[in-house]
Structure formats: C-alpha cells, structure tokens
Symmetry: C2
Subunit: 294 residues, 2 copies
C-alpha cells in the first residue's frame, strides 16, 4: 500500500476501493493455507461487497489526521470479520441463504464443512491482520474482538431469541441491531481512530458518529428489504417480513423510518463539525449511506 | 487469581487446575452475552477436559522465571481456542461426533445453530482474553491468531484432503498433526514464555519443547485410539481406523510408535536441561503425557 503518495482527501473513492480490494486480495494470497481453504476464503472475501466498514475505518483515520496506510490492516481485518459473519449466518442451520451479492453463498459453492472452516479462518486471520498495525495494534485488536463477540451475541438473539423478559418489540429490535450491525460499524470507526492515535475528544466523536451510522445503516437496510426487489438487491428481499422478523418499517412504519434516517443524518453532521475538512469524506459517506438503493 | 501468594513450584497440580477452572468459569460468567450463548459456551468450555494447554502455558511461564498470574489470561485464551475447535469439529458437517468427554457434544445438547455461534464466540472472546495480558499482550495474541489459523488449515486437510501432490502418507500425517494439534500446543508454550518476557534462548527452547510435546501428544493419542475402549476414553475409539484415517500406528506400526514416544520424551528432557529447577513441572508433565492412558 502506498496511499502516502497522495493526500487521502485527493484519492477518489474508486482509487481507495481499488487499494482496499488489493489489500484484501493480498491478505489471503500471501498466507500459507490448505489449498481448498484458500479458495473458499477468497471466494467469501472477494465476492464484491460495498466495503463500507473498511472505508469507514480509513476515512475515520484520516478524519483524526492519521495516515491511512496505518489503518489499512485494521480496514482489512474488519472486512474479514464481516465476511466471516456472512458465511456463518448464511449456513443451513442459521439463515439458510443460497444467494448473496448475486451469487451462490459459500456453503452452496464449497459445501458446509468448508464454509464453517473458511468462516473460522477469516475470523482468525482478521486478528493476525489487526495485530500487524504499526500504531495501536493491541487497542485495535481488542476493539475488534469485543465488537465481534457482541455481533455474535446479536446473531444469537436474532436467530434464537432469548431477550430479557421486559423488552418490548421496539427494544428487542434496537438491541439486535445495535449488537448485530452496530457493533462492527462502531468498531470500524474506532479502529481507524486508534490507528491515528486520536485524542480523547476525537475518539469520542468518531465513536458516537459510528453508532449513528450503524443505526442508520440498519434502518435503511430494513427499508430496502421492504421496498426493493431481490434482483435489484442481489439477495433475497422481503425475507425478513416473510420470516416474521422485526424490522423498523414493520414496528414504526415506513414514513417514520424514512424520517428517522434524516434525523440520524443531521445528528451525524453535528458530531463531525469540529473535525473540519479532514472529515469531509465521512460526510459524503453518510449522505451516500442514507440515500443508497441497494 | 492470586497465584503469587505461593511459589508456583509449591502449588500442587490439583491447586493449579482449580485456579484454571476458576478462571475459565469467570471469563464467561462476567461477560455480557445473550443468555443462550452464555449457556452454550459454558457447556463447551467447562465440561471437563485435561486442561493440557493452560497447564503448558502456565508452567512455561514459570520455567522462564515469569509470574504465573501474568500468563493466566493467555492460558484461558488457549483453552477457549481448543474448546472452539472441538465444538466446530464435532458438527454434523465435519466429524459428526455425538460424544465428547463422556457427554453429548454441544450441537447435540444445544442444536447446530447455537453450536456454530458458540464456537465463534469462544474464538472471539479468546482474543479479548489474550489481549488483557499485562506483559506481551500483542505478541501473545498474534501467536494465538497464527496458531489458530494453522490449526484450521490442518482441520481442512484432515477433513477434506488436498495435500501437495508429492506428499507420501507419512508426510501427510506429519503435516496434519503439526498443524492440527501441534500448532496450538506450541503456541501455549510460547504464550507462556511471552508472558514471562523470556529471553531469546529460553523462548527458542520452550518453542522446540512445545513442538516435541505436540508431536508426542498426537502419537500417544493415535496409540490410545487403537488400543483403548470408547468407554475408557470417554469418546469414540477406533473411529480413526474405521474411517480410514491415517494414524501413527497404521503407518509406522504400534511398536515403532511406542519407541517414538520414548525418543521424543528423551529429546524433550535435553531441551529443558539449561532451564534447571523452574522447569521441573514441565518434566513431570512430559512424563505424564507420555504415559497417559486416556
């Protein structure tokens, strides 16, 4: 990676995404692994995806006046955790999904045994990556570990239930999403801040901004699941509703959900104000995440 | 943990094992987790087991003149990785085992979905633990991550094959065991040494001693699988042979395998010589591992 050659703010998103894809390709290609495991992890990690978490990590590093190069191993690590979670969540015993990003899920393409082990390997190699950061490695890896545990706990609630007895549906929904999606998005931002050795105020702002993004991301996801076709999304749409799962539109209505996205976007803007120009890519990302259609 | 109260050499194995069980119980009990996930991870982690890896880790720390307290989070972490690997290896899509340590495997007791997620959580919390070490946390966690990846790669070879084309059966067997069992045992020893901030010579000796123990452990396991009953072992005996899996007795014969255990034991003694009295518990462990009957 040689992002230093150009000021991060001058990199187009296309250029930055090319750097991320390059780093994701390298991490598996250069790792000594059983041939079948290498193939399956590459399939799971390199099959498209919006790379939202790595972008958040890198842009948060830059917003805290850090060098994006220093955050790249953390960006790779967080995307590997995301990929691991998709591989395991798609398994027959869990969500039993055949289609992901417009192609066969890992267990359909490689069999269940290899999908389980490929998910495990993505998780494990993610920590090798996080620990290779030159600044804040131990903080970054610990952030990654605790967010991963929280995400898994959220997946248990989502798949198998077991909420505290006094939780109403709206509280259940919030808990699931804060853990299942929110924890990793928040961690992506904090890991970027750690790689920049950010001060306490900046770390706190980027943490709260990440929490806001995590929530917004999920509300938008729920809206899209209800309003878009499977073909457009490249995954099974309407499935949440069909399975009787809780979603924001279902509990609060579609109009409320859309208003809520606007409120969260405004709140995120307030949080970034003191960070000035280096946070500009984060503002652009928030806008794009709020208005995405897939 | 207050192991400092007593010199490590004065702790009996029973006392040390009680400390380990206490630490393993604490790590899940004090972690905020979905109720079902907590139950399943506790079942998987606290269902007996010889605690060989934590003992190796703690004794290697003491052999390098470290404080055993400092190695306890690493000892817990390595046992969690071992527990994770058992839960996933036992799954129907992999080894499909119903019995482990004389009781139902995790997926039989809790269902497949929760077993997959409990394994994932054990893996993730293991890194939280490793990173809580007060000395050498980043080294310890990196050692754990790379050994875990190697173990998973070994499991892929064992379950699905895919060896380099020019490998003969003896080479295949060695590669599987070096990765599948050896990597984690070696890591247990190195993590203990890191927690003691060991010098290069001591780290190297404990690394090679760990490699010798890993190999010996596996040869003994293969001998027991062929010579002992399922009831005695608390797991399905003779299964390796029945499934046509390679074992040391099958490839080299039972007499050669027994001789090899003796050679490895002698070699391990040579490696420990310069470490003197603090390495005495390691000598006792090597002897016990060589002569175990279950």
């Amino acid at each position: 990676m040689m992002l230093e050659l150009k000021s991060p703010q001058l990199l187009t998103d296309t250029e930055l995404l090319a750097h991320i894809e390059g780093a994701l390709t390298q991490v598996i290609a250069t790792r000594s692994l059983a041939a079948k495991l290498k193939e399956a992890t590459q399939y799971a990690l390199l099959g498209g995806g919006k790379r939202v978490r790595p972008l958040l990590c890198l842009h948060c590093c830059a917003a805290a006046n850090g060098n994006m190069d220093h955050a790249m191993p953390a960006a790779v690590a967080i995307e590997m955790i995301h990929a691991f979670s998709l591989v395991h969540d798609d398994l027959p015993a869990l969500d039993n999904d055949d289609l992901r990003r417009g192609r066969a899920t890992t267990h359909v393409a490689f069999g269940e045994a290899l999908a389980i082990l490929a998910g495990d390997a993505l998780l494990s190699i993610a920590f090798e990556q996080a620990l290779s950061c030159v600044i804040g490695a131990a903080h970054i890896a610990h952030e990654l570990a605790s967010a991963t545990t929280e995400m898994i706990s959220g997946q248990v609630l989502d798949t198998l239930g077991g909420f505290p007895k006094d939780f109403n549906p709206a509280q259940q929904l919030e808990l699931i999403h804060r853990q299942k999606t929110g924890a990793l998005i928040r961690a992506a931002c904090r890991m970027g801040a750690f790689a920049a050795a950010a001060n306490a105020d900046t770390l706190d702002r980027l943490t709260r901004w990440g929490e806001t993004m995590g929530l917004m991301f999920q509300v938008v996801d729920d809206i899209l699941d209800e309003t878009q076709s499977s073909q457009h999304l490249g995954k099974s749409a309407g499935k949440d509703a069909a399975q009787g799962k809780m979603t924001y539109p279902k509990i609060h209505g579609l109009a409320w959900s859309r208003d809520h996205v606007k409120e969260l976007l405004e709140h995120s803007e307030q949080l970034l104000k003191p960070l000035g120009a280096p946070a500009q890519p984060l503002r652009t990302m928030a806008q794009a995440l709020a208005t995405r259609t897939k």
